[in-house]
Amino acid sequence: MKVALITGASRGIGKACALRLARDGYTVVINYSRSDDEAQKVLETIKADGGDGMTYKADVSDLAQVKQMIKDVDKQYGQIDLLVNNAGIVRDNLLLMLNMDDLDKCMDLNVKGYFYCAQQAGLKMFRKKKGVIINMSSVSGELALAGQSVYSATKGAVNALTRVLAKEMGAKGIRVNAVAPGFIETEMIDALSAEKKEEYLKTIPLHRFGTADEVAAVVSMLASDACAYITGQVITMDGGISL
């Protein structure tokens, strides 16, 4: 048995990762913070397909809740083989319009939350001298989009965190990588106007948005032994937008 913990897994990319990893044979822990029904539906889908797992409600921007979650998961399954740090928020605004509460929330969830989960899950992986951490980054970590200073800064931090943790934990058998998607068909893209969507599509060489399943496929690959010699990398999958 292998156990995967995915944060923010009740919808979007996190949900796709949970479903994919369950199909890969992982027992999946679906972390979520608010969407009880959606998280339960993800678990039901997994179980209907013959998989197994549990839902776990915790705000990963709160260290005490993260510690309790990791402790409970470890008690339940005795191991954590894979952490997918995915929970995050976007609060786009131009610098002079920036609300500092939004800045704090983004930093707390998109950066500190990744640290908290990596530290606590890493502690359990360290015991086994084996584990994989995959951080959900974004093409915005490298690409400058007006209005995304906060989100870009948090994803830039995730990229740096990924590289440093890979160096720190490599000797202990723990690999750390990141996936940096471009525009992915999620609720965020759905909310855009048709004109805005077309404007974005023109900038993407593959001329389409990516799908959450495609992101999950890269996560699955990075988690697998096929990528056993890959660590500290940020895998960009953006249809070529960053070229």
Binding site: K67, Q119, Q120, L123, K124, F126, R127, E168, A171
Partner: protein, 83 residues
Amino acid sequence: MADSEIKAKVKELICSNLGVEPDVLDYDTELFGEDSIGLDSVDSLEIISFVDDEYGVDMTGVGKEHFLNIDSIAAYISEHKDN
């Protein structure tokens, strides 16, 4: 568990997993820093993992003063473990 048993287990961990000879390691021997037996920060991860696994005590983010020597590590464990 008595403090002496905890100290003995921590010493055993340091000797068996971190390559320290038992005869150079007393309970008050400095573990990290210039005048120490030369453990480094990566070695501290091994100690944190062992303490978590063996005693269920979380030493992540704990101050360096608790890692001075086996005495201080054992004192932290005693103070925080469930009895």
